[in-house]
């Protein structure tokens, strides 16, 4: 069909996948070669993507809720994080899990300044901002300001501990259990533990669940 019909049109916004980056071309080329040579099937690749997308912060929320409800589990989680995951029926994961605990005096924040290291097998894919240069460069240098921009004022009395995931550890923040949640079931506790709470840019509150 021609658009040469006498009046101008506003430009059409290009689709996001109109042009491939260098690394996107490389990914397509390697994937197609692996499939052509019978090393992988296209369905196997699709299944892995589907499996990755099915992982979500809800898994991490279960872990946190159990730690709040069960002191023995919490002790194990802080000592041997991966073993604690297996106890809950979750994947052990390909990396060592380091769990850092928020208390009344300490607030923990996780970042990967080099790239985007994140406990993906537990929490799913990281949010886009976690991978941004802005967050990666500023979370280490001015964490209190970054936290304020996320709406969290840690307070002058608390210590801020930043954890830079530069190598083979992956980090999960164990938030402090908020007041007003006494007597809650683990399922109810899990509803207030969001992704951001487990990265450390937010803290759970008794009224912060999605259903509140």
């Amino acid at each position: 069909m021609t658009h040469d019909h006498g009046h101008p049109h506003a430009g059409v916004r290009p689709d996001a996948d109109d042009t491939l980056s260098y690394y996107q071309v490389m990914e397509v080329a390697v994937r197609e070669l692996l499939v052509e040579k019978g090393v992988l099937s296209a369905d196997a690749v699709r299944r892995e993507v589907e499996k990755m997308d099915a992982r979500s912060p809800a898994q991490g929320a279960r872990v946190v809720a159990r730690a709040w409800a069960d002191p023995a589990f919490k002790a194990k989680l802080l000592e041997l994080g991966n073993d604690a995951l297996v106890e809950l029926g979750l994947e052990r994961g390909p990396y060592k899990l380091v769990v850092v605990e928020n208390t009344a005096d300490v607030h923990n924040l996780v970042v990967c300044t080099l790239c985007s290291c994140y406990p993906r097998w537990l929490l799913g894919l990281p949010p886009d901002w976690y991978k941004s240069r802005n967050y990666r460069s500023r979370a280490v240098r001015e964490p209190r300001q970054v936290l304020r921009e996320f709406g969290l004022d840690v307070g002058a009395d608390a210590t801020v501990r930043v954890h830079d995931s530069t190598a083979d550890m992956r980090y999960l923040v164990l938030p402090a259990r908020p007041s007003g949640t006494e007597g809650w079931s683990e399922e109810k506790l899990a509803t207030i533990v969001t992704r951001d709470c487990m990265i450390g840019v937010a803290v759970p509150r008794a009224g912060s669940g999605p259903g509140s």
């Binding site: 300044t113 001015e142 964490p143 209190r144 801020v160 830079d164 995931s165 530069t166 083979d168």
Partner: protein, 103 residues
């Protein structure tokens, strides 16, 4: 200093509480020691275990023998001259042994 030996046979030179200085080196390749922490002094928070050297892995080599990896804790106020926070605020970084010297 500890005489502990990691399962791979590479001795762990440091243990929790030891003061260490990060080498101020500028070498090419796939380096996991962030630029901002080079030259700074911190304290070993824990020995994480031994892991294949990423500087070798990146070039399709084995990375073996595995190298001791530590979490090192630094005082934010010492890392950033204009740090606006509490004196106790810290930054923990994972650093391989060959980037650390006794301090």
């Amino acid at each position: 200093m500890s005489a502990a030996v990691t399962p791979t046979g590479v001795g762990a030179r440091f243990r929790r509480g030891d003061r260490v200085k990060v080498r101020r080196a500028d070498v090419p390749g796939h380096i996991r020691t962030p630029w901002y922490i080079r030259g700074h002094t911190g304290v070993i928070e824990r020995l994480c275990g031994a892991y294949p050297n990423p500087e070798e892995l990146a070039y399709a080599r084995s990375g073996l023998p595995a190298q001791p990896l530590y979490r090192v804790r630094f005082a934010q106020a010492q890392v950033w001259p204009d740090y606006a926070g509490r004196p106790a605020d810290s930054i923990d970084v994972e650093i391989f042994q060959h980037w650390l010297e006794p301090a």
